[in-house]
């Protein structure tokens, strides 16, 4: 290897490492600050690590605000939403991909339009609807809409996947006496499993992160989600940075665990969505 090439490789690793450090430093600072006393947090020049690691900050954060309740509320929203999305988006996608029916192309173009529609545009009438049926301050406005296809993008994505499976599989199964539902559930769904896992993971992260929906629909502190609860925590503890950072760690821990467990599917899923467009 020539000297110029070695220098080039060195530069390559240097830039990549700089990028990696830029990604990690904020997260390191978060963890570091969450384990300090308030005095240590404010020291100048800044300390790299606490003199004694203060795990008790987490206990304090958990007891100052009911984060366990927020955690429970978040799960009550996230679990049925992910389930709803998996069931209804795959069903709808199967219908759009495999059957001919009047106005099918119209409905498909509506799906495409809905993908780029900013949710804010339809927010006010939806809010009024939920107010009229007295379901504000319940979880229904955040769960029920996902039983209707689970988001236009997911329907679109899964339809594209159904289209890649040759129709011979359907025909062969039909000759063997399988009905439309059997073909959907037992023949085709296993084929699109990687896409389904990706859709489920995306929906999990989307719901975990969602802030606008809970902000609009949940005003009673007993119904707060983690994202909403943390916002109010920021409002009242904006000077006690160690507790605030501990609370923040509590909020980001579950998605990070899910990310590392489902990492393979995740990267695959991001890849698939990009390529399928």
């Amino acid at each position: 290897m020539t000297a110029a090439r070695t220098a080039q490789r060195g530069l390559l690793y240097l830039i990549l490492s700089a990028g990696a450090v830029a990604c990690l430093v904020p997260i390191f600072w978060l963890v570091r600050s969450s384990l300090m006393t308030l005095v240590e947090v404010f020291k100048y020049p800044p300390l790299l690590w606490a003199s004694r690691t203060r795990w008790e900050n987490f206990a304090t954060a958990l007891t100052t605000a009911p984060f366990l309740l927020y955690f429970r509320n978040t799960l009550i929203i996230v679990i049925p939403t992910v389930l709803a999305t998996l069931v209804t988006s795959s069903m709808s996608a199967y219908g759009l991909a495999r059957f001919r029916f009047p106005l099918r192309n119209f409905w498909f173009s509506m799906v495409l339009g809905a993908i780029i529609l900013p949710p804010a545009v339809v927010l006010i009438p939806q809010f009024i609807l939920w107010t009229k049926v007295h379901l504000v301050n319940t979880f229904y406005p955040l769960i029920l809409p996902f039983w209707f296809g689970g988001g236009a993008f997911n329907v679109f994505l899964l339809r594209q996947f159904f289209l890649t499976i040759p129709k011979d599989f359907d025909d062969a199964a039909r000759i063997d006496g399988a009905g439309y539902f059997r073909i959907y559930a037992q023949i085709l769904l296993p084929f699109i499993q990687p896409a389904l896992i990706a859709v489920g993971l995306f929906q999990f992260f989307f719901q975990w992160n969602d802030f606008f929906g809970p902000l609009i629909y949940l005003n009673d502190p007993k119904t707060y989600t983690l994202a909403l609860g943390l916002t109010h925590f920021i409002g009242s503890y904006s000077t006690q940075w160690n507790f605030l950072m501990a609370a923040t760690v509590i909020v980001i821990l579950p998605p990070i665990v899910v990310f590392f467990v489902g990492q393979r599917y995740f990267v695959e899923g991001v890849t698939l969505t990009g390529i399928k467009m």
């Binding site: 830039i15 600050s33 029916f101 799906v111 039983w147 236009a152 920021i234 980001i252 991001v270």
Partner: protein, 305 residues
């Protein structure tokens, strides 16, 4: 084909149509109830002076007229939002493309780098807002301690009218580039090796390879990232709501924030609905222009070049 057979064929067709509708019914009902209905509702509300408490009156296009005449916030928030969108999308795409190109070289630990770059995308926006509020703290934040250590004067970051949007852009690039990098990287790995080698044989350097092969091959994905980036950036809200409350001096009062404030803090549902429709028209027009423009530089394999 006999009469009865044709009849049976049509019957099978209509049965297929019925089953198809049944399967697709969740999304069709969803589009009617959650998209088409509210779109019409939004348009109707925007023509009234409804404030939730009293009965609405028709005011015609007054809500729209007010936006361009007396509403000072509208023009300001539009400018602030466009500023954010342009800076955020340009920086995210450039940064992600460069890192993806580097990651696509023969390097050790590509998987680890990819996970590290993706990690910030996992952090919920409210949580990263809390974190960056701390990093940007004018007195004790990490950023000021670093630049002070390097001999520069402290910055007010989020608390200064001119630095607030760039500060939110920086945070936003940190939080979203991971997704874009992974999508670019996948596209880069799909670029055929033999094409790149052909350029090498002809004596081309990396720039020739990029311009002649890589750029056209990944252009559909670049377009995808651009489109997604624009639509998402236009909806920026949470960061400003949590970190700056739209300030200082409305310098981070983004469009959706203005709409939220109008509708949910001032109960001016008519005005908020008008803002919503204007947003819809702007995003649609932008999408259309982008599609037109993309025909000039996006290369689809199989289509005639």
């Amino acid at each position: 084909m006999g009469q009865s057979e044709r009849h049976r064929g049509r019957r099978r067709g209509s049965r297929e149509a019925l089953v198809g509708y049944l399967f697709a019914s969740p999304v069709i009902l969803g589009l009617i109830v959650w998209v088409i209905g509210p779109m019409i509702g939004s348009a109707l509300i925007s023509l009234t002076d409804w404030n939730v408490l009293s009965t609405p009156h028709w005011v015609g296009l007054r809500n729209y007229a007010r936006l361009v005449t007396t509403d000072l916030y509208f023009r300001n928030s539009l400018l602030v939002t466009v500023y954010f969108v342009l800076a955020n999308v340009t920086l995210t795409i450039l940064y992600s493309l460069i890192l993806a190109l580097l990651l696509n070289q023969k390097i050790r630990g590509r998987g680890i780098y990819r996970s590290v770059f993706y990690l910030p995308s996992i952090v919920p926006i409210v949580a990263s807002s809390a974190l960056w509020l701390w990093l940007y703290n004018p007195n004790f934040g990490l950023f000021n301690e670093v630049i002070q250590g390097l001999g520069f004067p402290k910055s007010l970051w989020l608390a200064n009218q001119t630095t607030v949007v760039p500060s939110i852009v920086l945070m936003s690039v940190w939080g979203t580039a991971g997704n874009t990098i992974v999508i670019f990287l996948a596209a880069l790995q799909g670029v055929p090796r033999q094409l790149l080698e052909a350029v090498e044989i002809d004596g081309g350097n990396w720039l020739h390879k990029f311009r002649a092969i890589t750029w056209p091959m990944i252009s559909p994905v670049t377009f995808f990232n651009l489109m997604v980036g624009l639509i998402n950036s236009f909806q920026i809200f949470t960061q400003a709501y949590v970190m700056t409350s739209g300030g200082p001096n409305n310098a981070s009062l983004f469009y959706v924030y203005l709409m939220y404030r109008e509708g949910f803090e001032r109960n001016n549902m008519g005005g908020a609905a008008a803002l919503a429709w204007v947003l819809f028209l702007m995003v649609s027009a932008l999408g259309l222009v982008l599609f037109r423009w993309s025909r000039q530089w996006v290369y689809y394999e199989g289509a005639n070049a």
